[in-house]
Symmetry: C2
Subunit: 472 residues, 2 copies
């Protein structure tokens, strides 16, 4: 982190904690330079950054002022309510109709699930691709299809090791993105009619996959900060013949919640006690804002119960479609399912990423990416505070690129979706994240794209639409 | 085709028709040059080619002689027997145990399903990859994931047009190889317990997919030259609630059979009459040896009943994992299944192939590839005739890279498989191509690799093993 970034973070902290109040003038460049013993240019750069984050704004001939609502005065949403019944999943049509209508590249992509593609080292990846496939022996192409690129598997295993997970490379299977891994894992441990514990809200593709495989959902409440409610899970595991759990232990989509180390350990103990496998969807794992990489539930796994799914799609190479699963005792089953359904992910993409991981500067890229996303999160939070009704609740995720908004009760987010789309703005309405179509007054917003005047305008418009729903 | 190749074909025809008998001296270079009015160097090149094809051999200081058994005296196999029952498929374990044991790169790969990777323009493809991804706009990456690379779809639609099939590009879905397309198509039109008509023998992955999806097989006999037995199919369609057909109308794997235009039309009429969808697996379609590209059953499709699956894996870019389906009235369903299971094939691989199709010289490559494969087929047929018992029957496919051998009755091909593997030779035993584990005395051999002294030696050894089974 550069000096001006560090300095900006200190000022931001003063704003968040209320030391600097809304509409208050921030110290002049000269004063700040003297007080904190940094150069005037460092102060300039820091103030410019804070302006981009939406925390302060310049007033002509007068200096910088803390913006109204910059303190993040909006509350966080509460934990979702518990539903005791199991649910036949039937939301795929709704999800497809929503997703199908947000593909227009000219809409403001708040509803998009994809990261902003400009955030990735595409040119450097292209060089890795060029280098690696020019030297790829023809015979290796066949070998890479059946068992995966050996260099890539080694690089992934190394990263696991750095995160405190010791793997035998035998349990590592390269897949067509994490989505394929998640599909195969669920198929490996269930048959039609089985019960699967999922989070509520959850990633909508999980719902679609359950529906496709004719599985029943047991929805477990999730706190927007602390993650899944373990007592409910424990109770469900005791009462119901749950065949698998599918959880995001870290940077949950859409909430952004992460489990503490203690909760992860307790969760693993529950799995072991009930001998239930868990699919750990960890595709946002590298997008944490803190200084320490979080350990997955997989790090506690002694019995091979956890199938840990990762991907390069959200943090390095969107469109390359390279993911993986470390599938524990289910590795052989998952591997065979893969050979039967798609055979192999693209060999050039595998070799390009293997080369990049070795030579491209992945960790440097990740640090930059995390910093950019954190900046953009603050900018969008500040803008929401400016433009949305004050009873709006907003999540404060410590990573990823999604915000979860609980809007005033009277707001119908499916109606809001249509209103916004007609103005060229996409949002992801709450009901697509629930087997029971709940979260009617919630939306998920993608803050991964650059915060421009157009973004600000779109959020202002969205805020007005939200305010236009009459209180009942 | 070059002059010496044409001339070599004429000589080959004389050998096959018996004009030139085994052990007979072929005309001297000088004589041949005078008689056929070609240059001596053309004759030299032709004779050299015929030697590589295994049809003639040089004797020191004496010129070229027709090799023993070069006439292709071995008969073709007969049509498979009819089985009236439907079959629960349970052969996946057997298939995996066979496939798993042939992956050693040091074995002679007669049992391999993959084409010889040296046959493909990998360096030229790498250039297309390099060029296309350096210029790929970041925003296009997202678009290419959801709807497929537009240039690639256009190029594929153009090739359909050239083959007499008019498509709306809406029904074209790019997939992770044809294997994914076949999986998705079958899922789109069936549910567990349904009956699916397949060929006997058939591609073993079809059996695995049926087993995985809990579908029952109705096996239809196939003639090794003329393809599926339509009368049996008609009878089965009348008597049984068949929900889908999965056929290879052209260059059937493993037999090499192709339907005539008339049979394709009749087949389509049957589908239409019974309103049953057909999955047309046409992955070997470009590997025909004749001068005219065959038209698929899809070319008769007026109702959108045919889901035509193709791929670049066998003819251009193994390992890139780019296939497609033209899915007729099921396009929307198949597309949604794809979005739920793997989202998208690799975007760089899509753009590389799109560029190659436009600028790489695909048709020139295909002509060369077909010629090489035809040469290798003749070489292997000749070697089999030399080394295998004379009651061995061998298919004479007009394309592809597989031979199907019906060995003497007493041969147990699973036993032969183990014997051969212990000597470093892989073969594909007959029972893995049948839901009922038939074809015990049959094997499939891959002739796509260069015919070397090692190949000849391996076939000689295999022939001896075959002969070692005692007649019962």
């Amino acid at each position: 982190m550069k000096l001006y970034e560090k300095f900006a973070d200190e000022i931001a902290e003063m704003i968040h904690s209320g030391v600097l109040a809304a509409d208050e003038k921030v110290p002049s460049v000269r004063n700040a330079s003297r007080t904190w013993k940094v150069s005037p240019s460092t102060v300039f750069q820091a103030y410019y950054l804070l302006e981009r984050r939406g925390l302060i704004q310049a007033r002509a001939r007068s200096g910088y002022y803390v913006r109204a609502h910059a303190k993040g005065t909006l509350a966080e949403p509460d934990i979702s309510a518990r539903i005791t019944d199991t649910t036949d999943v039937d939301v795929s049509e709704l999800i497809f109709s929503i997703l199908g209508s947000v593909r227009d590249p000219d809409t403001v992509p708040f509803g998009s699930a994809f990261p902003c593609p400009q955030l990735f080292p595409l040119a450097r990846l292209a060089r890795s691709m060029n280098k690696s496939i020019r030297h790829l022996p023809a015979s290796q192409i066949i070998a890479d299809m059946t068992s995966g690129n050996a260099a890539l598997r080694r690089q992934i295993a190394l990263r696991y090791m750095m995160h405190g997970v010791m793997l035998s490379s035998d349990e590592l299977i390269i897949t067509n993105g994490a989505l394929e891994a998640l599909n195969l894992c669920l198929q490996a441990v269930t048959k039609p009619g089985d019960l699967v514990a999922i989070e509520s809200p959850t990633f909508y593709a999980a719902l679609q996959i359950l529906e496709r495989l004719k599985l029943k959902a047991v929805e477990i409440p999730v706190h927007p900060r602390d993650g899944i409610h373990l007592e409910t899970l424990e109770d469900s595991l005791q009462r119901l013949p749950i065949k698998a759990c599918w959880f995001m232990s870290h940077l949950h989509n859409p909430l952004g919640a992460s489990l503490s180390q203690e909760k992860k350990q307790t969760l693993y103990q529950l799995l072991e006690k009930h001998d239930v496998p868990m699919i750990e969807d960890d595709v946002y794992g590298e997008l944490y804002f803190g200084s320490e990489p979080p350990k997955p539930v997989k790090s506690f796994d002694r019995k091979g119960l956890v199938m840990h799914c990762g991907s390069f799609s959200k943090n390095l190479a969107p469109g390359y479609r390279i993911g993986w699963v470390s599938a524990g005792r289910y590795a052989e089953t998952v591997s065979r399912l893969k050979l039967m359904t798609t055979l192999s992910p693209s060999v050039p993409a595998q070799s390009a990423i293997a080369d990049y991981l070795q030579h491209g500067g992945y960790d440097r890229h990740l640090r930059k990416l995390r910093y950019t996303l954190e900046t953009r999160q603050q900018a969008m939070q500040a803008a929401i505070a400016r433009h949305f009704p004050p009873t709006t609740k907003v999540s404060r995720p410590e990573g990823g690129y999604f915000l979860w908004l609980e809007l005033p009760e009277q707001v119908d987010s499916l109606k809001l979706f249509s209103m916004a789309l007609s103005q060229g703005i996409s949002i992801a309405p709450g009901p697509i994240f629930s087997a029971t179509r709940r979260f009617e007054n919630c939306i998920r917003l993608n803050y991964g794209h650059a915060h421009t005047p157009q973004t600000e305008q779109a959020l202002a418009l969205l805020g007005k639409m939200v305010a236009s729903f009459p209180e009942s």
